[in-house]
Amino acid sequence: MNTRSIWAACVILTLAVATANAWDPAKTQELDQKAQAAKATLLEKDPGMQRFFDAAAGYVIIPTVGKGGVGIGGAYGKGLLYEGGKSTAEVSLSQLTVGFQWGGQAYSEFLFFEDDAALKDFKRGNFELGAQVSAVAVTVGASADAKFNNGVAIFTYAKGGLMYEATVGGQKFKVSDK
């Protein structure tokens, strides 16, 4: 193989790797549609939640967090970070879980950041919720007494009509800029 062929192979390999890691507009658009649907459902359950969307410096919508069904497992989800009403980054959630669940669990999760400092802290990467952090399970009027705690407010609602409080302590978030 001559030098020119080696360079050509390197260029093709580099392009292939770049393509594999590139932001996929189609996937992001699909995620955005799911996030907007989750937001609509949230506001339908409790219209008072609008004040958090209006007041927050930024928010994350993860349309579906799926939790394993048995023993020691993981909960995973992908969502988007919104600033000024526009999506600015992809967010992935992961969490160690334990406990048997019939058929697993699925819920939507919303994180609101009170100010730029809290948002900046989240965007810095490797954001992790402390074990003592809890989320508000959204029902009618749930937002009335809800407050920011250390600059973050977290809400969940179960999918499929089941009612339970999702445990969010220990969740880890990874932020990937678009």
Binding site: I72, G74, V98
Partner: protein
């Protein structure tokens, strides 16, 4: 056996009534189902120990007792490629014990409750899963045998803990107990 050689031993005899304190060391086994693709199973052992105290009521050939203690199940871990799942667990337990004297030996069975704490961590995955703490109270049971030399008893036992969300948590141990 070294311990036995260092204490004044009485003749081999059946268990008698009285308070006792002791300690054991052995192998703790964990079989826990997992729902993590990279870690398909967790069936691991580690060295554990326990310290205990109780009272034995000897009525003829029958022994009835109550016992409480602390158990440390060790820190078993499993590695699959880069992924490592570790469990660090301990607990406090209370047992009701019943048994019979069979010549110099006595055998016993016990049922009780363990109040446990566990730290579970998964490392080496991307995205990372981190760690969590869990606790609870669950039933347990066990079988054992002991032989007494005066106030000193040597015992071996097998305990099973029906801990929630696990398939099996058990411990086989041998130890010494001193009757006061």
């Amino acid at each position: 056996m070294l311990s036995l050689a260092l204490v004044p031993l009485g003749a081999v005899q059946a268990a008698e009534s009285g308070f006792y304190l002791g300690g054991s060391i052995g192998q703790a086994s964990f079989d826990v189902p997992t729902d993590i693709t990279e870690i398909p199973s967790f069936n691991e052992d580690d060295t554990g120990y326990k310290v205990f105290g109780g009272y034995n009521f000897n009525i003829g050939i029958i022994n009835l007792g109550v016992e409480g203690g602390y158990v440390d199940f060790g820190n078993p871990s499993a590695r699959f490629n880069t992924a490592v799942l570790s469990i660090d667990a301990d607990g406090w337990n209370v047992w009701g014990i019943g048994g019979v004297n069979l010549g110099p030996f006595d055998v016993f069975a016990k049922v009780g409750v363990v109040s446990w704490d566990a730290s579970i961590s998964v490392t080496g995955l991307d995205p990372g899963l981190g760690s969590l703490s869990d606790s609870g109270s669950d039933p347990g049971y066990g079988l054992g045998a002991r032989i007494s030399f005066g106030r000193l008893a040597v015992r071996g036992e097998w305990e099973v803990y029906e801990i929630e969300d696990t398939d099996d948590v058990s411990m086989f141990s041998v130890g010494l107990a001193w009757r006061f």
